[in-house]
């Protein structure tokens, strides 16, 4: 089969590096739009249940530790800051700064998962995990249980995204550490940066909806 015209050009099949970058980011934004709708369905469910069972949600929300959510939000926002910087350093080919900032971002992400893990443990101890072990005294326990169903589903899914992000940071960071030429294609870092910031955005909405319902 004859080689396609232009196949020897460095950015083939793209016109140039700018075209390639724009295409990579465009693809990522399309993926993120599907992610918005994926999480969006659950946000819609939350809104409907809270509208129908406001009182039960207030009672359930009183069992949340707002300061843990506050701490986690601060941790995650800081990691968004270090990730945005890391992406810029990757584009400049500054490997040492990239590795340092990836390290900090990774540690912040891991700290987030640790705090969240402690909360899950606390919910188990207090019998607030939906299912046969669920114990709750309130005006409408089954509606309050729905609050925790949504809490575990939405934060769990968010945690899964965080876990994937941490694995990708490990992969990209390790690869750049072993082989500096990995930085010659910086679009991959920008795509990872978009993913990480999106996970931040989801949390920014989860925090008021699950931790600030009825803080004490």
């Amino acid at each position: 089969m004859p080689a396609e015209a232009g196949a020897e050009l460095p950015n083939f099949p793209f016109k140039d590096a700018g075209h390639q970058r724009e295409s990579a980011l465009f693809g990522m934004w399309i993926f993120l739009a599907t992610e918005v709708l994926f999480f969006g369905g659950m946000f819609m469910a939350y809104i409907v249940y809270r509208y129908l069972h406001g009182q039960a949600f207030q009672e359930a929300g009183a069992h949340q530790e707002w300061y843990l959510g506050f701490l986690n939000t601060a941790v995650l926002l800081t990691s968004g800051f270090t990730m945005a910087l890391a992406v810029d350093f990757a584009r400049q080919g500054q490997r040492n700064w990239l590795l340092v900032l990836f390290g900090v971002t990774w540690l912040l992400g891991a700290a987030f998962l640790g705090i969240e893990g402690y909360e899950y443990y606390d919910k188990f101890v207090q019998h607030l995990v939906p299912g046969t072990g669920f114990r709750f005294t309130g005006s409408d326990p089954s509606a309050s249980e729905m609050f925790f169903v949504l809490y575990f589903t939405m934060t769990g899914l968010h945690m899964f995204h965080m876990f994937v992000g941490l694995m990708l940071i490990l992969l990209f960071g390790g690869w750049s550490w072993v082989s500096p030429s990995f930085l010659l294609k910086p679009n991959r870092f920008e795509v990872l940066g978009l993913y990480w910031a999106f996970v931040d955005i989801v949390w920014v909405f989860l925090y008021p909806l699950f931790y600030l319902v009825h803080p004490r």
Binding site: W29, L32, I47, W66, L77, F81, L85, F205, L212, V213
Partner: protein
């Protein structure tokens, strides 16, 4: 490309201020309606992350438009479903 550290720092600082604000709003005695004042703050925080950490501010218009697509559809979903629940009586 120059790295604009001071801009990132200002964005992070604004995010912390908004985080403190939304937390303070949660303690206002508004009954069950605190979330309606907290959500606009969350939207402002998401906007800051979108514009600066995700660099939509300095992106090509195509990327900016694409970034708005998912959120626009979600707003339609929430608006129409909410209207349905608010305006119609559902059997208990």
């Amino acid at each position: 490309m120059k790295i604009n550290l001071s801009r990132y720092l200002r964005v992070l600082l604004s995010l912390f201020v908004l985080l403190a604000l939304t937390t303070a709003l949660a303690f206002l005695p508004l009954g069950a309606w605190n979330w309606l004042v907290e959500l606009p703050v969350a939207f402002a925080m998401a906007g800051l992350i979108l514009l600066f950490f995700m660099k939509v501010w300095s992106s090509e218009p195509l990327l900016g438009l694409t970034s708005a697509v998912g959120f626009t559809w979600l707003c339609l979903l929430i608006l129409l479903v909410s209207l349905d629940y608010i305006s119609r009586a559902w059997p208990e």
